[in-house]
Each structure stands twice: as C-alpha cells, then as structure tokens.
Point group: C2
Chain length 390, copies 2
C-alpha cells in the first residue's frame, strides 16, 4: 500500500502545473500596485498596442469632465505603466483600461464589480471612512440569497439578506433595515457596489451601529431576480425595464416585511424597522414609508428620485400631501435626506425639503460633494446606519 502511494511518479508539483488544464493562464504583471504611500501604479502587458490609457474615478475625482479622467500609460518592453503623481485619498475606486480606444478590464486584477452593463476593476485605498469598506479582522455576518413568495406580485422573488455576526447563536430578536437599490440595480447592488456587508460588519464591530438584519430587495417588479438569476437566462442588464416606478413594487412591499418577520427573529413593530434607498430606491422609500405609516420608524432618502410622471396612475402616488401629514403626525424617529451638491436631482430634493420645512415636518439633512455616484451612496450608508434603532 505504501509502495503504491509513494511510487507514484506524480508529485504535488504536477498538480500545480497541470491543475485545471486551463486554456487561459494568469498574467504575472502586478496591477494595481498600491504602494505604502498610497501612490498607485497600473500596468498592462500589451506589446502591440499603440496607445494605452487608464480611466477611472481616482483621476481628478473633483472634476466632472470625463476628459480629465483619462491618463496615458508609458510603454517599456511591452509593458505599459502609469503611476499616480499624488497619493490617492482613502476610497473604493473603479477603473478600466483603454487600449487603442477599446475599453478592457485589467487582466491582472480579478476584482471587478458590475454596475448595470459596465464591469470595472476595483481597488481600495484604506484609511478613514474607506476602512469601513474593507473586510477587516472582525466578526462577519452571513450574506444569503433568499427567494421569498410575493403573492401581490404573483411570483417568487430574490433578495439579499444580511444577518449580523452572532445572529445564529444569540436567540435574540433584531431590528430590520430594508435597503433599496436604484434604477439599473438589483438585489445584488448594495452588497457588491455598496459594500453593505462590510460596512455593517465594521460599524457593528466598532460599537457604532446596533446589530441589525439588512434586507436588500429587488425593486424591479418585472424581474424575479438579477440578470442571470432567473429562467430568462444570461440576459443583458438594462436601465430600461417595464413596470418601473408605477406603484407595483411599493404595493408588494408588505409581502417582503411579512416574509422577513415570519422567517427571521425580528422586532415586529415600527420601532424595529428602517427603510432607505438610493435614487429610485429613495423614491420607493418615500412612497412605501408614507403608504404604510405604521411600518417604519427610520426613513432614508439617498439622492432620491423625487420625480413624478403624470402619465402614471397608481393609488400609491395619490394623496401624497395627506399621506405625508399622517406619516409625520406619527412622528418617525428619523427622516433622513442625503444628496450630493452636483447631483442632477439636487433641485428636486431642495424643493422637497422646502416643502417639508413649510409644513414643519422635521428631518435630518446631509449634503456631500459630487453627484449621483456610488461613492456618495456608500458615504450615506455609513452616516445613516449609526443613527438607527438607538
């Protein structure tokens, strides 16, 4: 027996060499290389390219001009390279390369995030708030992809559920934060682009947030789930979906709450529930929270799409003024509005706040720089979560 095993000519190195018999080998180039001083070097091996550029939000992040967000790499021995002239500020950054005008992902960096149809490489410069976006050596919650029945929508639907570290063993009841994506997003958006699980893990570990369940739904009522996760197959993601912002998702929302309350150890009352969303999800949060004024004590509108389409005729959107009066009459623990000062929705949010002011409805306001971007939505999440369930 010993002979049999030990006489084998195949050694572990064989496994390492042949393993997977892959068609495509990995690149040996290191990119991005994050130096200790937060200077970053990007590299791409492309011996036949004429021009290689890098584009990303780490370039002149204060500028809104796209032209300012492209830098040229310099070639040596077939490897192109660009090093940032300055250290980068702490942040989660996205980038791609342009090779003779063709956008490509960095083959040396397997970390990518999809935003609608765009897949970009990502990296994190740690420090300050950006440390909340990193996986740190803290207890981690569970992230689950869960299918729930929505009788109102007439289908099973997929959602992402975060349960905090310790949930499985504590026997306790937890408050629930419902976190909604924007147009073009889905139930994966907040956990991937938004780093929601990392932000919650870190804020809870630091004692800055209460342990809570976070439920990330799919707000596109024409979909059961994210592209690729339904029987429609690998369909291309799109911004333009039918039945968007016409009331059906809001009407079906109590199905979500009912499922969560019957399948998790939740605090089944208004003071144990929060709802917030970005852009279209802010619009959803506004309308759901006022439609069901006894359901949520904490409401967050992040760059909310406070818009209305006169062609849409849904009972959800009717009698807005009267419903807001009822909602604010019940004194929510927190009504929170956040937006960037260059957001195309800035004026709509300013008008909305003015109306709240006129009525004497109290809310908290957070204004950031820049516009309608994930950088801001991660910031708003880190600001909002510590205020919940206190």
């Amino acid at each position: 027996m010993k002979r049999f095993f030990f006489s084998s000519a195949l050694m572990l190195t064989t496994l390492l060499t042949y393993a997977q018999q892959a068609l495509w080998g990995g690149s040996q180039i290191v990119s991005p290389e994050i130096h200790d001083n937060q200077i970053v070097t990007f590299r791409l091996k492309a011996p036949k390219a004429v021009r290689v550029q890098v584009t990303g939000d780490f370039l002149n992040s204060e500028s809104s001009e796209e032209g300012a967000r492209v830098a040229d790499l310099v070639e040596k021995d077939g490897v192109w390279e660009y090093t940032t002239p300055e250290p980068l500020k702490p942040e989660l950054y996205s980038y791609t390369f342009l090779v003779d005008g063709l956008k490509i992902n960095d083959p040396s960096n397997v970390f990518m995030i999809r935003d609608v149809q765009s897949v970009t490489n990502v990296f994190i410069i740690g420090g300050g708030r950006a440390d909340l976006y990193k996986v740190n050596d803290v207890p981690h919650g569970t992230v689950a992809k869960v299918w729930y029945e929505s009788p109102t929508a007439g289908m099973k639907r997929r959602m992402t559920v975060y349960t905090p570290a310790g949930y499985e063993d504590s026997g306790k009841r937890y408050p629930v934060f419902y976190l909604l994506h924007g147009m073009g997003g889905d139930e994966n958006a907040w956990s991937e682009l938004g780093r929601a699980a990392q932000i919650l893990d870190n804020l809870i570990a630091q004692g800055k947030a209460k342990p809570m369940i976070v439920v990330m739904t799919n707000g596109n009522i024409s979909q059961e789930a994210a592209p690729g996760e339904t029987s429609n197959g690998f369909v291309s993601p799109t911004m333009r979906l039918p039945k968007t912002m016409e009331g059906s998702f809001e009407t079906s929302f109590p199905d979500v709450v009912r499922y969560v309350d019957s399948h998790y150890r939740t605090i089944k009352s208004k003071h144990g529930r929060a709802i917030a969303g970005l852009s279209m999800g802010g619009f959803h949060s506004l309308h759901i929270s006022k439609q069901y004024p006894d359901m949520f004590d904490y409401i967050g509108l992040f760059s909310a799409a406070i818009l209305s389409d006169p062609k849409v005729d849904s009972p959800i959107y009717k009698d807005l003024e009267a419903k807001l009066k009822v909602q604010f009459g019940k004194k929510p623990a927190l009504y929170y509005i956040a937006i960037g000062n260059t957001d195309f929705l800035y004026k709509a949010n300013t008008d909305f706040r003015r109306m709240l002011d006129e009525k004497g409805y109290s809310y908290e306001y957070y204004e950031s720089a820049e516009g309608h971007i994930w950088k801001n939505w991660r910031i708003y999440l880190t600001e909002f979560v510590p205020k919940l369930f206190k």
Copy 2:
C-alpha cells in the same frame, strides 16, 4: 403639493439618461448571440484592431491542442464577428477574445466566472444535461456565505451553504452533502464554476435527488476565505498556497460538521452525510472519510489527486491501508470514483481502483471523456447527487 411634484421639469427619462452618471457606457453590440438552432455569433467592436480572435472550449472541445481552440473574427464597419459553423452541443462554455494578442473579456457579456486568476465570459447552450446548469422556473434554495469557528484551525472560516427550497418552512431534518473544491479554488468555486445551486435546484425539482443541504468549504487552510473576502484585501488568487495537502484541513474537518449539525436541521449521523470533492478535494474526501469512518456514508472522488508527497509527515496520511480496511469494513453506502480518460491523474486513479479491486472493496466507477476540467466536474456532480441518501 401636487403642483410641486408635477411642475418638476425632470421626468423619468432624465433618470434613465443621467442615472448613475456612469463613466463607462455599455456596448450596444449583442454578443454572444445564441440563435435558435444553437449556432452562436460572437461580436466585438474594435475599429482599430488588426486581428481579433475568439478562444474558448466551444471550439473543437474534443481536441486538447490549444491552437485548435482559436478562431478569427471578420471585421465590417469596425465590428468583428465570428459565427460557429455548426450548432454547439448543450454545455456551459467559457471564452475570451484576443485583440492583437491581448486577452480581453467580451464587453457585451457581463456574465463572467473566475477560475484561479483567469476570468472568462460564459454562456449556456441548453438541452440535455446542460439544462441542469440553467436557472429554471423551479423552487430555488438559499445560498449563504457563512462564517464558522474552527477551533482546530484556530480561526473563523468562510463557507457556502445551500439549503434546499422549503427548508425554512418544513421543520424537517435534512441530510448534508459536503462538497470540496480543488487546488486554486475556494468556497465560491462549486457554486460559481460548478453551478451547484442550479444543479441541486433542478435535480430536486425533478424528483431525481433528495432535498439536501450542501456545504461548500474552503480547503486552503492558510486562508480564512476566498481572495478579497479576508483582511488581506484584494490579493491576487494563486494556485500556490502554504499548508496545502499536509493534513491540517482534514484534521479540522470535524469542526465543520459540528458547526453544521449545531446550526442547521440536519440528520446527525453517518447515513445522513456525504462527502465529495474534485482534484485536491477528492484527495481531501478520501482522507477525511477514512480518517473518520463513522462520519460519511457516501464518498465521491472526482478526478481525485491520489498523490502523496513523501516529504509530508502528517498522522492523517499514516496507516492508510489499515484505515481503508476499517472504512470499507463498515460498508459505506456508496464509494464513487469518477475521472476523465485524458486526465493527468487517470493512471493514479486506475492504480487506486486496482488496489480497491484487489482488496475486494466495492465502489462505483464513472469514466468520462476529456480531462481535468470543470465540464467534467459538473457532469460528475449531476451523476453523484441522485445516488445520495436513497
């Protein structure tokens, strides 16, 4: 109030146009286009390219020569195109483009899977067994990323847990199938490359498999979790990790079983447990199942790395013959060996089977075409799962 909302100059179309203020727009090219007759067209817009090729396992999948797996696209008006001359057989296929020799992903296809350092685009041609790899309109299980405590390994570790549709509401106890990845893989490999959740959903819905929990561990004891999921940050994945196949993972395995049995409604006995793995995971399954002969009634070795490194000195690998004698003396319900006839481990597996034959130990054997590839591991999974817990 009505005035406020309806006088807004911003309409929904604004949202659609400006949403996300993304730096990178999606391509309008359709690729891959899967025609009704299972002919596939690939397209890439690259006006400045001199030569564009596609490489993938859909090209001459019977051939092992890499040269046979590259096809040239033809350019017209800046868009390159290639159409397969024949319908493709049902399968999950991987591909990338080569643009003047540079490997790039298809910018029109957001569906990609990582295998170690390589990220490739994927598509599925349905029919036959490949329908098991698709998301179909059947009840779906829950897929969760769970952290468990491993006192033996001295750390918290991450795993993927599939619970079948109905688990949350049935109140029943379920058998557990432990499914292990190969070298270079991690706790995400079987659910992503292996389509394990889809295969289980479909086999269970068809009544061909018992509802079961599937636990997909991380077999690299030097990692807590997959690259990017630990405090090491976005580290590049690698085949070469320390402490691989030297006994530590096998020794820590009872921690996994203990966690699962104390956190899920399981059948807590040998007849309710199966273990299988591919390549290094087959090696792990062999050694774990014989080390703990009362733990698993169903054992599967898929393209198992039946190798031994004489330099490794672990009690796990000692007295193999005596331990196998004990294990087979307890008559496991199923000992299953599967391998491809061009696998570099074919001889090692043949030698191992010959030894089992000589000892009179009974096992089932499944031999496929081709080698050490995910196509085969998905096939073995679909063959193995229906045999469990019957």
